[in-house]
């Protein structure tokens, strides 16, 4: 008969040692333990472990958390002092923003068309086709700069027939 009785789960034995089992289940397992040496040994081990773990108790903290929570929510009291990990996160975000701005600026400079340093032949009678060549032909070397705004501004100031040649 006892061999047919199911051995209790290991965690049930621990809960029995902790006094956490319902009364009816306590009775069932106690009956099994009285007949099963192996389970009785496991129960004694569980009792020992449970009691030993109880030696680690934590004293009541004197911290008044409500004062800190109130301050963090901005309701009276001192301003919230960020903990170290929050400051580290803030630094990481700032660094990521700076890197992103730097990369964006670099890509912008790299993708802008580069102006040639050659100068047109003096006395040439033909109008150059492309806008940059036109700028050079007009000795507008300041337009070899970095933004199209400067070139566009000058082209817009050109006479209509020259502008047409430059922008076609």
């Amino acid at each position: 008969m006892y061999e047919a009785m199911r051995h209790p789960d290991p965690l049930e034995i621990i809960d029995l040692a902790a006094g956490r089992l319902p009364k009816d289940r306590q009775g069932e397992i106690a009956a099994h333990l009285s007949a099963c040496q192996e389970c009785r040994f496991r129960y004694e081990e569980a009792c020992f472990t449970w009691r030993a773990l109880g030696k680690w108790t934590v004293q009541r903290s004197s911290t008044d958390l409500w004062v800190r929570v109130q301050a963090a929510l901005g309701h009276d009291g001192p301003a919230r002092i960020p903990s170290a990990w929050r400051l580290r996160w803030a630094v990481r975000v700032a660094a990521a923003v700076l890197i992103g701005v730097g990369i964006g600026h670099g890509l912008g400079r790299w993708t802008m068309p580069q102006a040639s340093t050659t100068t047109p032949q003096a006395g040439s009678a033909d109008l150059p086709r492309d806008a940059q060549a036109a700028a050079r032909w007009l000795y507008l070397t300041s337009l070899e700069s970095h933004t199209p705004a400067g070139l566009a501004g000058v082209i817009l100031g050109m006479p209509n027939d020259v502008r047409k040649e430059v922008t076609e």
Binding site: D9, P10, L11, I14, A18, R20, E45, A46, F48, T49, W50, A52, L53, G54, K55, W56, T57, V58, Q59, R60, S61, T63, L65, W66, R68, V69, Q70, A72, L73, H75, S83, A84, W85, R88
Partner: protein, 172 residues
């Protein structure tokens, strides 16, 4: 919590005062440092306030609160691994009741703490919630998001792993 959801600060204060000791104890056992435990506890109650409108009364508040605390503690431990801080502060352990020699039992308490700290993280979390916070395996599963069978397996292994270490400690 319904009152907290409406922005009632008195209700929030009551929630904080009622649960702060348990939350601090849980955070301290998981992190081993009071300064980190206080940061986590503060953050947990702030999140309770911010998330109050999502809280469903059907869920046990304690389980919901502990879930926040455990997740914050696990985040804090991950950050500690990346940026190890100073050594743990002086222990504020107390020996259990009914012991004869305070010094001897204080040493045993510290050794028990070290034994628990030596467990793998999931076993340690499950054990702390079961032994020290009094949660059932179902409640532990709700707090951690693990299955009940996983919780049971972790607890059995944790108690088994601790048994041999504790025999040596108590017999000294």
């Amino acid at each position: 919590m319904v009152a907290v959801r409406r922005g009632n600060m008195s209700a929030l204060e009551e929630v904080v005062r009622r649960h702060q000791q348990n939350v601090l104890a849980l955070a301290y056992r998981m992190l081993g440092r009071w300064d980190l435990a206080e940061d986590v506890a503060q953050e947990a109650f702030l999140r309770v306030y911010q998330a109050a409108r999502h809280y469903r009364p059907a869920a046990a508040f304690k389980t919901w609160l502990y879930r926040i605390v455990v997740n914050l503690c696990l985040d804090a431990r991950r950050r500690l691994r990346k940026w190890p801080g100073p050594l743990p502060a002086e222990s504020t352990l107390q020996a259990g009741p009914g012991d004869c020699d305070p010094l001897e039992t204080r040493e045993q308490a510290e050794l028990v703490q070290l034994a628990v700290a030596g467990l793998p993280q999931r076993q340690r979390t499950a054990l702390i919630l079961h032994r020290y916070q009094g949660l059932s395996r179902r409640q532990i599963a709700e707090v951690t998001g693990w299955t009940e069978s996983a919780v049971e397996s972790l607890l059995v292994r944790a108690y088994g792993n601790l048994r041999n270490a504790l025999v040596e400690i108590v017999q000294e």
